[in-house]
């Protein structure tokens, strides 16, 4: 009897405690998300907000328009190229740094501490730092390229060239994100049992073999979480693009975040922007779903 009332009390207490978070999430996340999905099927522009006019159903026009103009396919390709490029490089470089810092190099603690600096630099400021390095007339990168090509390339402008602009933004993203990846992998490496590694060494296993057969399997939960965090972050990346290139040149760095912001808040066509974000959300959920799936089957084999 007593335990039953306690249980009921537990339930009410848990509900009361979670109420503020639930209310905030409903008001500022779930309702807006549902509302924006609805708006994606409507003709809804800034005059609707000012005049308080409800949007009108427009027969998927928001979707067909952005698709036919080529803006949406372009943004999808850019988003995925950016996510894949950044995550691959980030994982390889982060893993290399974590392995080195986990071995007996000198001053490992010191390096582990200072390598985190880019992570705390605000995103807009990291964009500024890289814009300055890539600056087309006086930037350091232009000079380095000039020196290394023996003076043949004298007008290297990373962010102004459609074929290198996405790479430029990716480098800035990598710079900011490698530290956290390294930190998490390093924490995971400390959980790899050293006795098994030693036993393998005695059995004559090389370090490459040990890495793939022992270290990586033990790391896989950490790898899985940190990569999925990274997928979400880079899928949503906005400030780096917006500050460094604004989506240009010629749409070469327009990802889904830039496209939706442009549609909704520059062209002030909320319906069209909402159509982009709806597709974006669907893609993100599918990507994370596929990713989790792939990782699960890999675990079994």
């Amino acid at each position: 009897m007593r335990s039953l009332t306690k249980k009921r009390g537990d339930m009410y207490y848990a509900m009361a405690l979670t109420l503020p978070a639930v209310i905030l999430a409903l008001l500022f996340i779930f309702i807006p998300i549902i509302d924006s999905v609805i708006k994606s099927f409507q003709d809804y522009k800034v005059r609707n907000i000012i005049g308080n006019i409800p949007g009108e159903w427009n027969n998927f026009e928001n979707y067909t328009k952005i698709f036919q103009s080529g803006a949406l396919p372009n943004a999808v390709v850019n988003t995925f190229s950016f996510v894949i490029l950044v995550i691959l490089c980030q994982f390889v470089l982060g893993m290399a740094l974590a392995l080195v810092l986990n071995s007996n190099v000198k001053c490992a603690r010191f390096f582990r501490s200072i390598m985190m600096t880019p992570w705390v630099v605000p995103t807009v400021i990291s964009a500024l730092i890289w814009m300055w390095l890539f600056q087309p007339q006086y930037g350091l990168f232009k000079y380095i390229v000039e020196v290394f090509t023996g003076g043949r390339v004298t007008d290297f402008a990373m962010l102004n060239n459609p074929s290198t602009a996405l790479l430029g933004v990716s480098i800035a993203a990598l710079w900011k994100q490698i530290p956290l990846m390294t930190l998490l992998l390093l924490a995971g490496l400390q959980n790899v049992p050293t006795d098994i590694l030693e036993a393998a060494t005695i059995d004559g296993a090389g370090s490459v073999r040990k890495f793939f057969r022992i270290t990586l399997p033990y790391l896989s939960p950490v790898v899985k979480v940190s990569i999925s965090m990274s997928i979400i972050e880079n899928f949503k990346q906005f400030p780096l693009f917006w500050t460094m290139t604004g989506g240009g040149p010629d749409g070469a760095t327009t990802n889904l975040a830039i496209l939706s912001y442009r549609e909704a808040f520059v062209s002030m066509n909320m319906g069209s922007g909402a159509a982009v974000t709806t597709i974006w959300m669907a893609l993100m959920i599918v990507t994370i779903g596929v990713y989790n799936r792939l990782f699960r089957t890999q675990d079994l084999s």
């Binding site: 207490y13 848990a14 999430a25 907000i49 501490s113 992570w119 924490a187 917006w242 912001y261 909704a264």
Partner: protein, 281 residues
């Protein structure tokens, strides 16, 4: 190849990797500092100079005296980030405790919802919040901005906090219950003091994330005097003063310093918290 050469080779390789990646991570910071201490004339020299030929604080002086709208953004950023961090920590304590302690259908559902919300893009919320918040008069106010950012931060913060509560042994709570302490006393005077490291981790995380916010402020704030740092910098200084790279680098330095201080001062808690949240959570 004998063992000795292999070992030397692997050592050399290790230091090469270390130096290369650390250089990639730290050189841009040095470049920002160096440029900020150059005169704008020298910043525009080509080929660039690797050390300022004369160390000049003229950019900092101009930032403090003429171009000081920056400090309005700076103060706003402190206010918004500070209050948001406080709200996030308080809400995360009660939510995190409930998720960690009561394994009932309701809390399982809440925990799942909180994880799910992290997948939604900010632009999607802003398209709708822009209209909704105009209706209730919260647009272009600090209160509206703080509430919208807090709602976005709380899911991760509460999940992180719950992993700290899980490490508190249940026996402590049961002992307090036997001693006749009520539910609120148990939570706030017995259990919460035990998760201080978690509170710090969550608070600092929320502060850093809010300091970095761009999209919420870009859409919800219109008047210049309420703007926060990121949006203020990119609208004012990149637009009007983009020819003065020495000044922009000085702004970057001043805008980064609080974050570096906060991080290095609380590094122990931050690292533990992030690892707990990502690796074990």
């Amino acid at each position: 190849m004998d063992i000795k050469t292999t070992r030397t080779l692997s050592l050399v390789l290790r230091y090469l990797v270390l130096v290369a990646i650390i250089l990639f991570l730290l050189f841009p910071i040095y470049w920002m500092l160096a440029t900020s201490f150059k005169t704008n004339m020298e910043a525009y020299q080509y080929p660039p100079t690797f050390f300022p030929s004369e160390v000049s604080v003229s950019s900092y002086l101009s930032l403090f005296t003429q171009n000081n709208q920056f400090f309005v953004y700076y103060v706003n950023n402190f206010i918004v980030s500070g209050i948001t961090a406080l709200i996030c920590t308080l809400v995360s304590i009660i939510t995190g405790y409930a998720i960690a302690r009561f394994n009932i259908r309701w809390t399982v559902l809440v925990a799942a919802l909180l994880v799910f919300t992290q997948m939604f893009p900010i632009v999607s919320r802003m398209i709708s919040l822009y209209g909704l918040m105009s209706d209730i008069g919260l647009i272009n106010t600090r209160t509206g901005l703080i509430l919208a950012i807090s709602a976005a931060q709380i899911p991760f913060c509460a999940t992180l906090m719950s992993s700290f509560f899980r490490n508190v042994p249940k026996e402590i709570e049961e002992a307090a219950y036997v001693d006749g302490a009520g539910r609120n006393r148990i939570l706030f005077s017995v259990i919460t003091p035990l998760v201080k490291p978690g509170m710090l981790a969550v608070g600092i995380y929320a502060f850093l994330q809010t300091w970095d916010d761009y999209l919420h402020a870009a859409t919800l704030i219109q008047s210049d005097n309420l703007r926060t740092l990121s949006i203020g910098i990119s609208l004012r200084y990149l637009g009007e003063l983009s020819y003065d790279w020495s000044l922009i680098n000085a702004i970057s330095v001043i805008g980064t310093i609080p974050m570096v201080l906060v991080f290095f001062f609380f590094q122990k808690y931050m690292v533990k918290g992030l690892v707990a949240g990502a690796v074990k959570g």
